[in-house]
Amino acid sequence: MTGEFNILLAGVGGQGVILMSELLGRAAIADGLRVRGSEVLGMAVRGGSVTSIIRIGDDVHGPLIPRGKCHVLVALEPSEALRDIGYLSKSGLAIVNTTPVVPFTVSLGQRDYPDLARIVETLDSVVSKVITLDAARMAREAGSLLAANIVMLGALFGVELLPIKMATMKQTIEARFPPKVATVNVRAFDLGYQACRQSLQ
């Protein structure tokens, strides 16, 4: 694939951001695509912000998305959608899970948590389209609260812009988990995919 396709995954430690990038990377390779990325690890299990980058295409060399060149942002937590706003492209999309994870600094009274409408409005002023969905609800529907990240992965494919084939992505999910978990995850993936399609229609 010529050119580049840049995906930014954002969330909070423990939400499964790194797993999403692993799955995307494996699927990209299975489809014969060139893939690069990076993340800052180390703080991930201690509730800090986590971002992971996946870049696909022959023109990709570096591990970081150049500012202003992110095609799709997937945020597993609403306020985390804003943290790397400078990377988003005007023609890009943002997919946001609406369930907040309120940091303890808010309880300590250091800052307020911004309301969802304001987050969406801010993103909307930068990208071409913001898609919001309740990944926690869909994960529960699929059979496990832990599958919210896979719901978001499904939603990422719902934008139908990815160079990775959807069938390859599902095969990668199926190969990565034991059968029971894989079934839940594929269901979660489909729910996220459909929700995103509906939101775009």
Binding site: G42, G47, H61, R67, T105, S107
Partner: protein
């Protein structure tokens, strides 16, 4: 088909790998027989990966007690003729510096590689330092990869080079290589396994003054041969463009950013590029060819102007007129990026970038103001939170007796517990280096009148806490030294250490206990407490602070993350706590104010415990003045 893994014997196949896994793969392909490391972000996954496959490849892998020992383990194995590697983060090299300086005089018998992970922007470090200067000082040749693939290739090749030239090599990784990801093409795995044998050679291995004088010329000769070979190594590549006025010398990962920046600016056909994979020694002939062909040079490298200074010296020494740019237009602080390189090139060529960076800066600034801070925090159920509650309560009580306004001093250290420098703990006053808290406490004890309570983790204690402990005994420093023992090197990924009774390769080992060491060192007050028995822990620590002379308290409580994982695997129920609204006093806030537990959150006017995060540690229930926090009886 079997799933492809980092140990697969599948030359030519592509695998999606973390950079540190790719480095480990390179070591596997080279037939490395001994690998040692001390954990440190962003280097830990190298040894972690090797530990997982060591048995399959007849490799010996260990977590050493510190980086100096790790390097000595590798050096000792190399002396016996086998291929060996030590990996560490940049500041770990400071710890290993002593043997490193002499190791370069010895050279390599079996191929010897030091993998160093630099951390531009200090994402998880106490400083950003450029390890290439240490290599320069020690005459160690450096390989610096531009991608995850090259990190693997260079690692595999480094052992061949090390044996060909008889010299120790360094691989300089950076955060975005080690924690970068990419598709790598697997190579052949060497199955050669050598029987180690030590051939006595005092002239080469035993450094009395004569050894230094005899071996320095040999080291310089080796280095000279490597310098001459640098121009022919494939890692250095000159891509000349006819008529180019600007030449770019791009070192390591900067090469990737440079390619993207030139593409972004549409300048691929107008700029000559020298990709540098060996910043030390540099490919001088290639550099001179480039210098002779252009009017201006831009050196792009992360952190210090290492290549830049050498290039400037070359230009100056030859009275050339070509103008050399580097850190005048490329940041010296932090990581580089396509944007930063693009801005530098745009500035020199008069092109403009298609992105309004000033606008993006403004947007990011506006948004940052509305975002809640989300720093990493001690986990719910973390035993350090309990320890710090006991430490600060005891210390404040004693400090009051020293006089009005006297505050306890907390020399801190490096690990998860460094997070206690944040509110509400405020229990870390200094953080310098591994074991540094105990060392600083020794100095403070002789000059201030205040309780001094130094603390460090169990792994850090074994790493470098013992000499300053002995120092306190010997030199009569009146300090309290606390070992926050959660039986893990938790911050870097739960690696085992001498206190855990397990080796890197999963074998059982003798458990070394901090309290036994303290007693053996002559400390007269040594106690072990369970930090979740808050009352007893506080009382014991208070006694330790009042004790005249060095006192040691070991706060032993398991790492909550490990304990939770084990409980879940065993199917054990976790009974969370909840807040009884009728008993809770809305203005009290003691649980939030004193503990800062991520599981305790404000909801409307009240305070609630998030049952999905609560580990049932009971700390909040113990400190609640209204006895309003209770444990659920069923789940």
């Amino acid at each position: 088909m079997r799933e492809l893994t980092i140990g697969s014997d599948a030359p030519g196949q592509r695998l999606f790998a973390l950079g540190n896994e790719a480095i480990a793969r390179g070591a596997i392909e080279a037939g490395v027989q001994v690998a040692a490391a001390y954990p440190g972000t962003p280097s830990s996954e190298i040894l972690g990966t090797l530990a997982g496959v060591a048995r399959d490849f007849g490799m010996y892998v260990e977590w050493s007690t510190n980086e100096k020992v790790a390097f000595e383990v590798a050096l000792g194995a190399s002396m016996c003729g086998v291929r060996a590697m030590a990996s560490m983060k940049h500041v770990g090299v400071n710890v290993a510096h002593d043997p490193l300086m002499t190791a370069s005089h010895i050279g390599a018998v079996g191929g010897l590689l030091l993998v160093v992970a630099d951390d531009p922007w200090a994402w998880s470090s106490q400083n950003e330092q450029d390890s290439r200067y240490i290599a320069l000082q020690a005459y160690i040749p450096v390989l610096e990869p531009s991608s995850v693939q090259e990190a693997k290739d260079m690692t595999a090749d480094a052992f061949r080079l090390s044996e060909e030239f008889g010299q120790l090599f360094m691989l300089r990784s950076v955060t975005r290589i080690g924690h970068g990801r990419g598709d790598i093409v697997l190579g052949e795995i060497s199955r050669e396994r050598r029987q180690g044998s030590f051939r006595k050679d005092l002239d080469r291995f035993a450094y009395v003054p004569r050894g230094a004088r005899m071996n320095k010329p040999l080291m310089l000769e080796r280095f000279e041969r490597i310098r001459k070979a640098a121009d022919t190594l494939a890692y250095n590549r000159l891509q000349m463009v006819d008529g180019a006025k600007l030449g770019i010398i791009a070192c390591g990962l900067s090469y990737s950013y440079t390619l993207e920046a030139l593409n972004w600016l549409g300048l691929e056909d107008r700029v000559s590029i020298l990709k540098v994979g060996t910043p030390h020694p540099l490919p001088e002939k290639l550099i001179i060819r480039l210098l002779n062909s252009v009017e201006e040079i831009l050196v792009v490298e992360e952190l210090d102007p290492f290549v830049e200074l050498h290039v400037k010296a070359m230009v100056g020494g030859r009275n050339m007129t070509v103008k050399v740019h580097g850190k005048d237009v490329v940041p010296r602080i932090g990581e580089l990026s396509t944007g930063k390189v693009g801005q530098a090139v745009a500035g020199l060529t008069g092109c403009s970038l298609p992105v309004d960076f000033t606008g993006l800066d403004r947007l990011e600034q506006d948004v940052a103001e509305m975002l809640p801070l989300r720093p990493p925090a001690l986990c719910p159920g973390c035993s350090h939170r309990a320890s710090f509650r006991a430490i600060t309560a005891a210390a404040q009580r004693v400090a009051r007796e020293y006089g009005e306004g006297v505050e306890p001093i907390y020399p801190g250290d490096i690990g998860c517990y460094t997070l206690a420098l944040n509110p509400p703990q405020y229990a870390v006053d200094t953080c310098i280096c591994m074991g540094g808290g105990f060392g600083l406490a020794n100095g403070m004890a002789h000059v201030v009148e205040a309780p001094i309570i130094a603390h460090l983790g169990d792994s850090t204690f074994f790493h470098s806490g013992i000499p300053p402990l002995i120092n306190a005994v010997y030199n009569k420093a009146n300090v309290t030294m606390i070992v926050l023992d959660n039986s893990a090197t938790a911050m870097t990924g739960f690696q085992p250490h001498p206190g855990t009774g397990q080796t890197a390769m999963g074998e059982e080992a003798t458990v070394v206990k901090a309290e036994d060491i303290a007693r053996a060192c002559g400390v007269q007050f040594v106690e072990v407490v369970d930090p979740f028995d808050l009352k007893t822990a506080t009382k014991t620590i208070e006694m330790a602070i009042r004790f005249q002379g060095p006192a040691v308290v070991v706060c032993r409580g398991p790492c909550a993350t490990i304990e939770l994982r084990e409980k879940r695997q065993a199917g054990e129920k976790i009974l969370p706590f909840y807040i009884d609204r009728d008993k809770c006093s809305p203005k009290c806030d003691a649980c939030i104010r004193l503990l800062g537990c991520p599981a305790i959150i404000r909801q409307g006017d009240g305070t609630v415990i998030d049952a999905s995060l609560c580990t049932g540690c009971s700390l909040c229930a113990q400190i609640c003045p209204h006895k309003a926090i209770l444990q659920e009886q069923t789940r």
